[in-house]
């Protein structure tokens, strides 16, 4: 059987990739994709912890994972709408060029 550590390591790796992408990329769409990676890492963690945890019958971890998936979908829908709104008026999705508000 695959040990719990393997799942956690995979999740940590994916989460780090996502976090790096979210902090390093200046393209709003790429940042959105990076955030999705982070959320997927969270889901791997949740399901792995549920599978190896003490209370397997209460399904808390799996339930949480399903909520995360549903909420992430809503979040992306709103996020893309905001990106499109910006793109229509500014013709760019690069955050360095979206700089009306600063100081």
């Amino acid at each position: 059987m695959v040990p719990l550590q393997a799942y956690l390591t995979l999740a940590a790796f994916i989460f780090s990739c996502g976090l790096y992408g979210a902090l390093a990329r200046r393209n709003a769409i790429a940042m959105l994709m990076a955030v999705e990676l982070m959320l997927n890492a969270v889901n791997i963690n949740l399901v792995a912890f549920w599978r190896y945890g003490p209370n397997r019958e209460d399904l808390a971890g799996q339930t949480f994972a399903i909520f995360v998936i549903a909420v992430a979908a809503a979040e992306v829908a709103v996020g893309l709408a905001l990106v499109i709104a910006i793109y229509r008026s500014r013709k760019t999705v690069y955050l360095d060029e979206i700089d009306l508000l600063q100081g």
């Binding site: 808390a60 339930t63 995360v68 809503a74 979040e75 910006i86 008026s89 979206i98 508000l101």
Partner: protein
């Protein structure tokens, strides 16, 4: 049935928002003035406010209802939640009354706006009571996603769209980090229930749990700190507050921030107290960093709306002192949490007032820089006097509400002998007083625009400003009831945690 009556405010808010949304979907009238939608929103919020008042009253007066009630093991309806829920709904009512003209003039999708506005109140009242990590996440995310939409609601306005996008990108990363932390809390304790987590920690060897839970809690703090605009996660706040439609800015800087701090308090007091880790250095560090950065940035601003945005970041720092100095189980008069509650309630009404005055001037001159306030006293004496009251209350001058908030929060730090923390707070309050008083000085002694016509404002706006002023003076001059309520609420919360 018992459980549903406990959820009365939430059910009312949900239904009201849905009704507005459905009317809008079926009417599809882009030329509608929007006054009907705003009135419906106002009505829903008022009914929910009355329901939450009854709830608060029941907790205080009826012996049977003294114990917090859990609903579906997901929500904990206790005094702490009830005492914040009523003021938060009242703040949303005030914003609706004052901001409906502003909003209806600027957008065509009025029905959508007001239904989201009601639902965002629902999200906040759910977050206040959440006692399970799933519920906590869903409520906070509900609040965030609705707020992204509202901040970027004027999508043809480049500033509003940019405010929404920046808020969204920071918020998405912060909430993913918070979730990652929550998974480790779940992995270490095997439960998602806040009290279950506390029970597990208390029953097991903490030296084994600390290495897993300490970093996990720090990740959770990222998400909550983002909502509460704590350093170093506050960079979105000034930009979003500046660009978002002003009614949205007002609730983001008051009610939404209150949720961030209230949830932080609940998570740390209820579930993490048993960990026996010394949180003080971390929390105190965040607190000092937040207030210092907020104040230093506010000092540099020439734009009053932006200055208030940075000053509201600084206030989050003062508020965090209350959570840092939590003293559970002691006989102390100031236990930190009651300071947090008093400060939050005082701050919300003060800040709503201050932002509304800015909104009046924005409506008139379409600018919010300090120049727009020059000689305001001669053009609109009532407005200038009320703004003076709000700014003095934000600075924490005695006889205003803000004084008692600072008194109890700093007092809690002193009582626990964190003199350096209280000292940092007082120094910061001094810096803050400088830029608040500067606006007051400009209003009374500024020279320009003396010949400009007087500023008029709608009746609704005037009424709301008067209500805010009265609340500020009521808490400032006669704080006893509020102190008593807050102390009872904090004792109840702390007794759960210890």
């Amino acid at each position: 049935m018992e459980q549903f009556s406990l959820l009365a405010p939430e059910i009312l808010l949900f239904t009201g928002g849905l009704v507005i949304f459905l009317i809008d979907v079926f009417a599809r009238d882009r030329t509608d003035s929007g006054r009907g939608y705003a009135t419906l929103a106002l009505f829903t919020l008022s009914v929910a406010f009355v329901a939450s008042l009854f709830q608060t009253y029941a907790f205080f007066e009826l012996e049977v209802a003294q114990k917090p009630a859990a609903v579906l093991n997901m929500l904990e309806i206790d005094l702490f939640a009830a005492l914040l829920k009523a003021p938060i709904i009242l703040v949303m009512i005030l914003i609706t009354m004052a901001g409906s003209t502003y909003m209806n003039k600027r957008t065509e999708r009025r029905g959508e706006f007001w239904s989201f506005f009601v639902w965002v109140t629902l999200a906040m009242s759910a977050a206040l009571s959440a006692s399970n990590l799933i519920m906590l996440y869903v409520a906070i995310e509900f609040l965030s996603i609705t707020s992204y939409l509202l901040a970027g609601f004027l999508r043809d306005n480049q500033r509003s769209a940019e405010a929404g996008l920046k808020y969204f990108l920071y918020g998405a990363v912060a909430s993913a980090a918070m979730l990652y932390g929550m998974t480790f809390v779940y992995g270490a304790t095997g439960t998602l229930d806040l009290k279950g987590i506390a029970a597990y920690i208390a029953a097991n060897d903490t030296s084994v749990l600390v290495p897993a839970l300490l970093p996990a809690t720090m990740f959770v703090m990222v998400g909550l700190g983002f909502k509460a605009t704590l350093a170093p996660f506050f960079q979105w706040a000034p930009d979003t507050y500046d660009g978002a439609p002003t009614p949205v800015t007002i609730y983001l800087s008051t009610a939404s921030k209150a949720i961030g701090l209230a949830v932080t308090a609940r998570v740390f007091v209820v579930s993490m107290n048993a960990l026996l880790v010394d949180w003080v250095p971390v929390m105190a560090g965040l607190s000092i960093l937040t207030m210092t950065m907020g104040n230093l940035m506010a000092l540099r601003q020439r734009d009053v709306k932006r200055m208030l945005a940075y000053s509201s970041v600084a206030h989050a720092g003062y508020l965090l002192i209350g959570i840092t100095a939590v003293a559970a189980g002691t006989e102390s008069y100031m236990d930190g949490i009651n300071g947090l509650l008093i400060y939050l309630i005082a701050y919300m009404f003060t800040n709503v007032g201050a932002f509304l005055v800015v909104m009046v001037l924005e409506e008139r001159a379409n600018r919010t820089d300090i120049g727009a306030f020059e000689g305001l006293y001669r053009r609109a004496p009532a407005l200038a006097v009320m703004l003076t009251v709000f700014l003095l209350s934000l600075a924490g001058i005695p006889a205003t509400a803000g004084f008692w908030g600072k008194f109890f929060v700093f007092g809690a730090a002193v009582q626990r002998q964190y003199f350096w923390l209280a000292g940092a707070g007082v120094v910061n309050a001094g810096i803050a007083a400088w830029y608040y008083v500067n606006v007051v000085r400009v209003m009374y002694f500024g020279e320009r625009e003396t010949d400009a016509e007087p500023v008029s404002m709608p009746i609704g706006m005037g009424a709301v400003l008067v209500v805010c002023t009265l609340v500020v003076f009521w808490i400032g001059l006669y704080p006893d009831p509020l102190i008593e309520w807050a102390t009872t609420a904090s004792e109840q919360l702390l007794s759960v945690g210890s």
